[in-house]
């Protein structure tokens, strides 16, 4: 299983802060998973329509969207951060 966690407007659009899904094949990229999530429609389509507006972290480390998910246990998807 792979845990997906969402933050900020991504969390609001999908209507939940986390979920567990079947582990995709190790070579699957974050971008490919985002496309699959968008295909669910509804709030997911809204949240994941614009990958250029999204950032991702695998096991709490920022990664580019073309990174393979590999053996990571957690994938976080969120907008660019606005701390400080």
């Amino acid at each position: 299983m792979l845990s997906l966690v969402y933050f900020a407007w991504v969390r609001e659009a999908v209507g939940r802060d986390e979920e567990r899904i079947e582990r995709p094949a190790p070579g699957t990229t974050v971008a490919a998973l985002i496309a699959a999530l968008a295909a669910r429609g509804g709030g997911y389509a809204q949240a994941f329509a614009r990958p250029d507006k999204l950032r991702a972290a695998l096991d709490q480390r920022f990664v580019p969207l073309d990174s393979p998910i590999g053996e990571a246990r957690e994938l976080a998807i969120f907008p660019p951060v606005t701390g400080g």
Binding site: A57, Q60, T82, G83
Partner: protein, 146 residues
């Protein structure tokens, strides 16, 4: 000596500065971020990613320690609901000389803006809006890349 706190509670900059002054250096620099009340803002709500925040801030602090000869670093970042005029973030650095303290302080605050997993939501009387990241903030963080 570095200390990082991610907390909902307010903090006392004077006490933080006094601790940095006691670290034995010749210079202490600090930055305190305050919530602005622009455009009728009622409150700012800060969401963060707890599992990632500490690890990410520790990484930023470790990098500052590698780049400058620092005697002390203090980072405090608040989350939750904050009103205009409230303190939101504090970065303090102590070093033997001013340049290292000032530069490390600027580096840390620029990195927090673009690398620490916090998101700000603005609350107005009639609407809410997530704050969008500014290209300018990314450019500032990039300018520190070696």
């Amino acid at each position: 000596m570095s200390r990082v706190s991610i907390q909902a509670e307010d903090f006392d900059p004077a006490a933080e500065l006094a601790a940095l002054e006691a670290s034995g250096g010749g210079g202490v620099a600090s930055f305190t971020g305050i919530v602005r009340g622009d455009g009728g803002l009622i409150a700012l709500e800060l969401e963060h990613y707890p599992a990632m925040t500490t690890a990410q801030v520790d990484r930023i602090v470790a990098e500052a320690c590698e780049r400058w000869p620092l005697l002390g670093i203090r980072v405090i970042h608040r989350f939750g609901r904050l009103e205009p005029g409230e303190r939101i973030v504090f970065v303090g650095t102590a070093s033997r000389h001013r340049a290292a303290a000032l530069e490390a302080c600027a580096f840390l605050i620029d990195w927090l803006k673009s690398q620490a997993p916090f998101w700000k939501k603005e609350h107005f009387a009639d609407r809410t809006a997530w704050v969008e990241a500014r290209a300018e903030d990314d450019a500032k963080a990039d300018s520190w890349k070696r």
